[in-house]
């Protein structure tokens, strides 16, 4: 099913900002808030996983019911998960389509990746403090 992909701040995402390596931040930014009626249409329940495909690729998120989100839209806290599927187009303004991306969503049994997995996929090298010193 196609959805309008909206991103923005949440308090949990903000709390995690200074400890982005932590599991709390990963949990806070890999949530996909969706209207419960849309969840019925997709046949998913709270906590189930969704595969979300956007212009730059796909990512697995976990679904959270949210009455306030209108049908046809999903809201994902801003962060590495949301941006993993976002294209680089800015329409001559410098601002990418953080709130206006169209995505294709379907249920999946795959796991939600870690932030390190996402960065690995991009070509990064994870750093863990034990590694040095």
């Amino acid at each position: 099913m196609k959805f309008l992909f909206n991103t923005g701040r949440t308090a949990a995402q903000g709390i995690g900002l200074d400890r982005k390596a932590g599991a709390e931040y990963a949990r806070a930014t890999s949530r996909c808030m969706m209207n419960p009626v849309d969840m019925m249409d997709l046949d998913v329940e709270a906590g189930d996983h969704l595969q979300v495909r956007g212009p730059a690729g796909e990512v697995v998120l976990s679904v959270v019911p949210a009455e306030g989100t209108p049908r046809g839209m999903v809201f994902v806290p801003l962060g590495p998960y949301a941006n993993h599927i976002l294209g680089g187009e800015t329409h001559g303004t410098g601002m990418p389509d953080f709130k206006t991306m169209t995505v294709e969503i379907e249920p999946t049994l795959r796991e939600v990746p870690t932030v390190a997995d996402l960065m690995d996929e991009i070509g990064g090298a994870a750093y863990s403090p034990e590694e040095t010193s």
Partner: protein
């Protein structure tokens, strides 16, 4: 030890009434801050990198400050088109050095503005900024509008310090006298406490502003029965609430700047405020995210004439958002080295940009491990302004505030590290 009147270095509210209690180098208690500020201050000394780290094949190794600074200066000097990005969670003093260094390198300097309120600035450059200080709003405003923003979660004390829940000198009973209008595409927590919640269909902001302007002008007859999901009846009600207010304060967030129409939405909002000023006093303020993102715009503007996305490759300052903005430069794979200061593009930039960051020498100056760390070749940890470094930051209404320190963890400040890189750049470019 109890430190009073500290400034919270998290969001653009820059609350300056924070009380922090420390025992040695540990923060044991934080009073007055919201959950976001409390978390940042309580975790002040946690998760920091102990010293610089550098990529070593597929892994990492420790490095000294001297070595990391030498490396950073080297990659910037070797580059044809270096990008110096970030600058929103650091001191004004460091921002100024960044601009001087970008000029000497012939590089591009951009702040996180380009992915938050860049469009607001473009609109302000077109039609002006009917702004005021937050103190004016607190003491005078009897009507508050939050449009495309959710201060309850992003600026949690905005309402208690400056708007809905704040006492106002010129208001008898501010909580009762103040009306709150929230406009958004979804029902947020802020929307649930509004006197009037206006839910518009995504992308409909421009049309709603135009309809409101027509109604305020007395040309409601041209407005159709619904505009972007909002009934004409509700639009007329809001227009009347605005016109009859003694002092209205309009705040907006990235819900407007990122929506279709981008800066044209803000232009239309400013023109609505302009229209309302024929009837009453009305002001407009962007809700700025990072505590010193406004400072980056101020510092860049004093020094170059432009607020962000300044390109020095022509040996004069050149500015063209959409071309000289960080996301565009990275997506076009244009820069060949990148210095990132006090921001986390790894978490906030589109994937295409990050892929390019990993393929060029990227140096990160940031106190802690972030999502950008794996994408870099070198990271230099520094002190956090407002915790173990002091400096200047600009509140979202443009008021500069001295941000104080309450810990000494022995890290150099951003200004010191950038100053040392700049010295090395000067040795080569200005021997």
């Amino acid at each position: 030890m109890i430190h009073t009147d500290m400034v919270c270095p998290f969001c653009g509210c820059l609350c300056d009434d924070i009380v922090v209690e420390t025992e040695g180098n540990a923060v044991v208690r934080v009073d007055n801050a919201c959950t976001l500020g409390t978390h940042k201050l309580m975790n002040a000394s946690m998760d920091r990198l102990k010293g610089p780290i550098m990529r070593d094949g597929a892994g990492w190794r420790d490095a000294t400050y001297d070595e990391a600074i030498e490396y950073a200066a080297g990659v910037l000097l070797d580059a044809d088109r270096p990008l110096l990005y970030g600058w929103s969670s650091t001191q004004g003093e460091a921002q100024g050095l960044g601009v001087s260094m970008a000029e000497l390198l012939g590089g591009v300097i951009d702040s996180t503005t380009s992915v938050c309120h860049g469009p607001s600035i473009l609109a302000i450059q077109e039609v002006g900024h009917p702004g005021c200080t937050l103190g004016q709003v607190k003491n005078r405003a009897d009507l508050i509008i939050y449009w495309g923003c959710n201060p309850t979660e992003a600026h949690p004390r905005h309402m208690s310090r400056y708007t809905t829940y704040a006492d106002g000198f010129f208001l008898q009973n501010s909580f009762r006298e103040r009306k709150l209008i929230v406009v958004d595409v979804r029902k947020t927590e802020t929307a649930s406490i509004a006197d009037e919640f206006v839910q518009i269909t995504p992308g409909g902001d421009y049309a709603v502003f135009s309809a409101l302007r027509a109604i305020v002008r007395g040309r409601g007859d041209v407005v159709p029965p619904t505009v972007a999901g909002v009934t004409k009846e509700q639009l007329e009600k809001i227009a009347e609430m605005c016109k009859s207010a003694k002092f209205g304060a309009f705040f907006f967030g990235v819900g407007l700047t990122m929506a279709p129409g981008r800066y044209k939405n803000i232009r239309n909002a400013i023109e609505l405020v302009d229209e309302l000023n024929r009837y009453t006093k009305f002001t407009l303020t962007p809700l700025r995210g990072h505590y010193n993102v406004y400072g980056s715009n101020e510092v860049f503007t004093w020094m170059t004439g432009y607020p962000y996305a300044v390109d020095f490759s022509r040996q004069i300052a050149f500015y063209n958002p959409g071309e000289t903005t960080a996301v565009d430069i990275l997506a076009r794979k244009e820069c060949d080295a990148c210095l990132i200061v006090a921001s986390d593009p790894g978490a906030h930039f589109p994937r295409k940009c990050l892929e390019h960051l990993t393929s060029i020498p990227t140096v990160l100056i940031d106190p802690a491990r972030t999502v950008t760390t794996p994408l870099c070749r070198c990271q230099i940890p520094t002190a956090v302004t407002g915790i173990d470094a002091s400096g200047t930051a600009y509140r979202m209404d443009g008021v500069p505030i001295h941000v104080k320190t309450f810990l000494d963890l022995g890290y150099p400040t951003d200004t010191e590290v950038i100053g040392r890189i700049f010295e090395k750049v000067q040795e080569v470019r200005h021997p």
